[in-house]
């Protein structure tokens, strides 16, 4: 039996627009604010510095400076190839972040497209898309990725992003589908239908803006989650080549117990960088999440 919505309407305050709420929420939350600043600082610095750095120089093997401790020449010492860890950290941070960004972006786009289609049309469309998603989810992902990595002839950042995207879009699609499913039952969608608005317009201009906060929050949180993504693959030996240094490359040098125990400068800064990036993105994401959910808002 359907229950009447009844009269449980609260008289609402005139509330500010989305961006303002987000900004206010971040301002309220010192942690989020600090995180945002930290994040911005790191990114500006890293992208800026990496731009001026000579990638070749960083990758240059130098036997005279193997495993040097941090010094004024090498701020963070060198690795077993005599390569500057600091430079690798900068470029690695940039690479890891860029990878994470693009994976998140592509998964968002794919997940969004399929999620919206499945959610909006429901029925057979939904069924087909959900079966595909179920299938991809049932794949043992890490194992599959390892196999794929061994198959692809060329393995670089783009290929990596592509492979990860293939496996990671499903979660988003599911999330957005369920939101879209509930959203399409709302009368504003019905209204648009009775007003003669074509489906594609409804999906793009009515549905999409209403799942956007969900997407943004999820995007940010995934961005944090995806930063460490390549590190475990690198650890297993299926990561990107060392010529494309990433945070994972530096961290997985710690596989060698000698490095882990005695050469902290190689892996600790990268680990901290991952931690700091993930946390600060995450904190910003949490604040956004609160902003998106009126019930949790602090202000």
């Amino acid at each position: 039996m359907k229950v009447e919505t009844g009269k449980n309407i609260q008289v609402q305050d005139v509330s500010p627009s989305g961006m303002k709420i987000i900004w206010q929420e971040i301002k309220k939350d010192k942690l989020a604010m600090g995180s945002l600043i930290t994040l911005a600082a790191i990114l500006i610095f890293v992208y800026g510095a990496a731009f001026f750095m000579d990638a070749k120089e960083i990758a240059k093997v130098d036997f005279l400076s193997i495993y040097l401790e941090p010094s004024s020449d090498y701020w963070l010492g060198t690795d077993y190839g005599g390569r500057d860890v600091y430079g690798q950290l900068i470029v690695g941070t940039r690479n890891s972040f860029t990878i994470s960004l693009f994976i998140t972006l592509f998964t968002a786009i794919i997940g969004l497209s399929f999620g919206l289609l499945a959610g909006y049309f429901g029925g057979a469309t939904d069924n087909v898309i959900m079966r595909v998603i179920d299938f991809v989810i049932a794949l043992p992902q890490l194992m599959f990725i390892i196999v794929v990595v061994t198959i692809v002839p060329v393995f670089n950042v783009y290929v990596f992003i592509l492979i990860m995207t293939v496996f990671l879009w499903t979660g988003k699609a599911r999330l957005i589908r369920s939101k879209a499913l509930s959203e399409r039952e709302l009368d504003y969608i019905h209204a648009s239908q009775t007003l003669g608005t074509p489906h594609w317009k409804i999906i793009l201009f009515q549905l999409l803006p209403n799942v956007s906060s969900l997407i943004i929050v999820n995007f940010i949180l995934n961005l944090a989650g995806n930063i460490g993504l390549e590190s475990s693959l690198t650890f297993l030996g299926f990561g990107l080549p060392e010529s494309t240094p990433s945070l994972g490359t530096l961290i997985s040098y710690a596989r060698n117990p000698d490095v882990l125990e005695n050469k902290w400068w190689i892996w600790v800064p990268a680990s901290l960088m991952i931690l700091v990036l993930m946390l600060s993105i995450n904190f910003v994401g949490q604040a956004l999440k609160r902003a998106a959910d009126a019930r949790q808002r602090r202000g």
Partner: protein, 308 residues
Amino acid sequence: MTLLKVDNLKVHFPIRGGFFRRVVDHVKAVDGVSFELQQGETYGLVGESGSGKSTTGKAVVKLNDVTSGQILFEGRDLAGLSRKEIKPFRKDIQMIFQDPYSSLNPKKRVLDIIAEPLRNFERQSPAEEKKIVQDFLDKVGLSPESIHKYPHEFSGGQRQRIGIARSLTLKPKLIIADEPVSALDVSVQAQVLNFLQDLQQEFNLTYLFVGHDLGVIRHMCDRMGVMYRGRLVEEGKSDEIYENPQHIYTKRLIAAIPDLEPEVRGEKVKLRKKLTAEYESSYSKFFDEDGRAYDLKPISSTHRVAIL
């Protein structure tokens, strides 16, 4: 003049189940409903929750697929039309939704909300469009500056008026109002009801008014139909039905309306008890073995009842 004629309308929703999610049964949400709307009148549909009122209304605007039956709008059958074919009729038939909160896209400004139908049917310059929207806002009693606001910046009643303005922009002939006030506080409800009446006069609108509050229906409607389990059990002039209900379900429904006069409450309790007893004893007079109401039979020129 008959604007809308619904003839033996059936809307069945499939229930899926079993091995391959085949359709095993149907919810007969609307199961053979027929009524007519004259130009300029307000026709009410009442009934308890789940009786198929909304489904009927939505079928008319093609939000639901019609299983069988005809929906004749100005003599043309809408039931079998495809999405494309239906588009021209969208201008003529509009809908007002129950919940003013969910029926307006929270992410859109009022301008975009009200202009949406215009953009679908007519090409206008932004300035013209703005002008039209502001005119309508004025008609529904909202200030022209409102176009840049978002729905959440309005009260429930104001929002409902925005929804109404949106449905008016295409100058429809028929408006389906699905419980347009049941989400509103009494005081706000009054505002919207008054306003709907004003518009009807101004634009010579025809309303199909769906509701469960008999006070509201009686207040608004010239004629009404009482629905029960997907079927009409009684139809006629509002007064006829209130003063002289014939079907046992209608009687119970009316007896259940709380009365504003505290003095009569003792009698009403007794009346309700009596009707409950009657309902049980005379069940077969009103329903067949399957519990389905009989077809409507005229008992006067305007009044029809589903009895044996």
